[in-house]
């Protein structure tokens, strides 16, 4: 039975009835990373230094050394990332159950609102509005918040002002709701974090991190191409690197979409 299912999938992929959408940004040195106050520890940006390129360092081969923080580029947040998830079992990327690496997605489009207001807050009423059209969010689904923020770059993407970043994200209530009332597997965003740019001023601060990780759920951020996904029916493949005790990792996020 299962072999037939996979054979069907393979056939659908080959025939184009099922498409693969890459939701990942290219890892490059100039992709913005989260900024903390400078006296605090900082995430290392992505860096690549050559070991050899068919030269004296290695005559026939090309390879590089990479360095980056766990939360660089399109990346995955594990529960251990936040203090609220520190005591949970299986809370780091190396212990992440493989079953959680593949899950369906609900894509909630709030791109128009985000275009008008960089501080747009995603609320329970947005969820209610979506559920009116597409039905209740199933348990263990990803909620992907489409803002089209991924179409911006550089300064406009980070949108740092003197009072901090101004980027859209969820308010505290919707996070509590999605985690406790809907049992989602995680939240995915196009911005640098799962939280809004000004979320440090919310109560609790950084509510996406607070509620998701406190309940053993996950975050995906710096996603792109969410505009190519249907509101429902896509399947997300998100398998972070297996880093011992890792709090997250850059990863390739793929979505299967049946046309």
């Amino acid at each position: 039975m299962s072999s037939n299912l996979l054979a069907s999938l393979a056939s659908a992929l080959g025939g184009g009835e099922v498409r693969i959408v890459d939701l990942t940004h290219t890892l490059s040195p100039d992709f913005p990373v989260i900024v903390m106050p400078p006296e605090l520890g900082q995430s290392a940006p992505f860096r690549m230094e050559r070991i050899s390129r068919y030269d004296g360092g290695g005559p026939a081969w090309y390879w590089n050394n990479l360095s980056f923080g766990e939360h660089t580029g399109t990346h995955f947040d594990a529960p251990i990332h936040w203090y609220t998830g520190r005591d949970l079992p299986l809370n780091s990327v190396d212990t992440l159950p493989p079953a959680d690496m593949i899950a369906p997605a609900c894509v909630i489009d709030r791109s128009e609102q985000s275009a008008k207001d960089p501080d747009f807050l995603f609320t329970v009423s947005d969820v209610a509005h979506w559920e009116d059209q597409h039905g209740r969010i199933p348990e263990r689904s990803w909620v992907l918040l489409r803002t089209d923020w991924s179409k911006k770059s550089g300064a406009a993407y980070a949108n740092l002002q003197a009072d901090g970043a101004h980027t859209p994200g969820p308010d505290a209530e919707v996070m509590r709701f999605l985690v406790e009332e809907r049992g989602i597997i995680g939240l995915g965003t196009e911005t640098i974090g799962t939280d809004a740019g000004q979320a440090g001023h919310f109560s609790p601060p950084y509510p996406a991190h607070h509620y998701l990780h406190g309940a053993g759920r996950y975050g995906l951020q710096c996603l792109t191409n969410l505009d190519q996904l249907p509101p429902t029916g896509s399947l997300i493949f998100a398998a972070p690197l297996k880093i011992q005790n890792g709090s997250g990792s850059p990863l390739r996020v793929l979505a299967l979409v049946q046309d």
Partner: protein, 414 residues
């Protein structure tokens, strides 16, 4: 009268770039007493501690009393020109390109007779002169004779310009536009006649206050430069490497952590990445092209400046990681100096005390105003110096280190 130096024309892309040559550079070990004096802009001679006579050339025994106690001491720098020549022919390749060359025999008021390079505005034999010790293109100390008083465009003298790194008509790269040093340094360089000032900005997506003020200054061009990224540094060198006549590395990274803090290693790594590795990346990307342009006309590559903290010279526990990074930068700068010297390009280290800027907020005064440091750097370039100690704290530390480095170490952090 010195002819004012004309603004250099754009380079002929079909012409071969003149390769740098060096003046004769062999010296006895004792003669490096002059190297130290010239590097710091001082005028010193060997003076016998027993009979008090000044002596020259450098000796191992006093010709008057045979004492071997002949330390270098600050000496009066005035003298009278006894004789002079215009050398027209030499077998030395460096001087051959620079003939004729004016040199003279000067009787110093304090006794010895020295052979010296002469400024074009010096009068003939019998004229009174002021002498200075300068570092030549080979990094070796030489005597230079100037008229007693300033003359118009004095700094443009052909022979003097070989002994300085005057910013006039030269193109400058400041590596960190976010530094509080950047605005006053840009102003000082412009005042000194710099033709163009590239100002590096890391992470353009992070706004900063001074940006608009820098952007509107004529002759200033903001460029992407992130010293923590090899690619960023390499990319900029590809664009403007051959147009950088003076590189001023203003990058710094000051974080206060305790050695035993859990995050200290990560902080150290971060600091070293911005400072030591940043300098390393700069050296790799810009070093070769800067060195190759040491004799490239009026706006040849002339100097590389590292703004370092005096913490490089002795650790200050409150700034332990900063101290370690600066010491590492000092070591790397000496390596780089050796490499650049082969192209006739000088490397100047400006050792500064705590700047009156955010990262030294908790440090009590005296603190160094960024403008004071900027002016000192430009003055150092004009004089062709190699080591600058800028501000009261830096000068104090230099003197104390010379006196007793162990005392400096014990008293640090008290």
């Amino acid at each position: 009268m010195t002819e004012p130096l004309p603004k250099p024309k754009r380079k002929n892309p079909l012409a071969r770039t003149n390769q740098p040559l060096l003046p004769p550079s062999s010296r006895s070990r004792k003669a490096h007493g002059f190297t130290r004096a010239a590097a710091h802009g001082r005028f010193m001679l060997q003076r016998c501690d027993e009979c008090g006579q000044y002596t020259y050339p450098t000796r191992d025994a006093c010709p008057n009393c045979l004492s071997s106690n002949l330390p270098f001491r600050d000496a009066p720098a005035s003298g009278t020109l006894l004789s002079e020549t215009q050398i027209g022919v030499t077998s030395d390749p460096y001087y051959r390109e620079r003939m004729p060359w004016r040199a003279g025999l000067v009787k110093l008021d304090c006794g010895p007779t020295v052979v010296a390079h002469l400024h074009g505005d010096c009068g003939g034999p019998g004229s009174l002169l002021t002498l200075s010790l300068q570092l030549d293109r080979a990094g070796q100390a030489v005597f230079f004779g100037k008229p007693l008083s300033e003359t118009p465009h004095m700094e443009d003298d052909r022979q003097l310009r070989e002994l300085t790194a005057d910013p006039k008509h030269r193109r400058i790269l400041l590596t960190d536009g976010r530094s509080s040093l950047a605005p006053p340094l840009v102003q000082a360089l412009k005042k000194a006649g710099a033709a163009k000032i590239f100002v590096g900005i890391a992470d353009r997506w992070k706004p900063f206050d001074g940006r608009a003020a820098l952007e509107i200054i004529e002759g200033v061009e903001l460029v992407d430069l992130d010293l923590t990224s090899e690619r960023s540094v390499q990319d900029l060198a590809k664009d403007i490497g051959a147009k950088v006549d003076i590189l001023i590395n203003t990058a710094d990274h000051v974080r206060q952590v305790h050695l035993f803090d859990a995050g200290a290693a990560a902080s150290a790594r971060d600091t070293l990445d911005h400072t030591l590795m940043g300098l390393m990346r700069l050296a790799q990307a810009f070093g070769p092209v800067v060195r190759s342009r040491g004799a490239d006309g009026v706006n040849s590559a002339a100097a590389w400046v590292n703004v370092l903290s005096v913490h490089a010279l002795s650790s200050v526990p409150q700034f332990g990681i900063h101290s370690a990074s600066q010491a590492a930068c000092l070591s790397l700068s000496q390596w780089l100096r050796h490499e650049l010297r082969q192209g006739g390009v000088r490397l100047m280290n400006a050792f500064a005390g705590p700047l009156d800027a955010e990262w030294f907020q908790t440090v009590p005064p005296p603190k160094l105003a960024p403008k004071t440091l900027a002016d000192a750097i430009v003055d150092g370039l004009k004089r062709g110096l190699e080591d600058l100690y800028v501000g009261d704290v830096a000068k104090d530390l230099e003197a104390r280190l010379l006196d007793n480095p162990k005392a400096v170490e014990r008293e640090a952090g008290q």
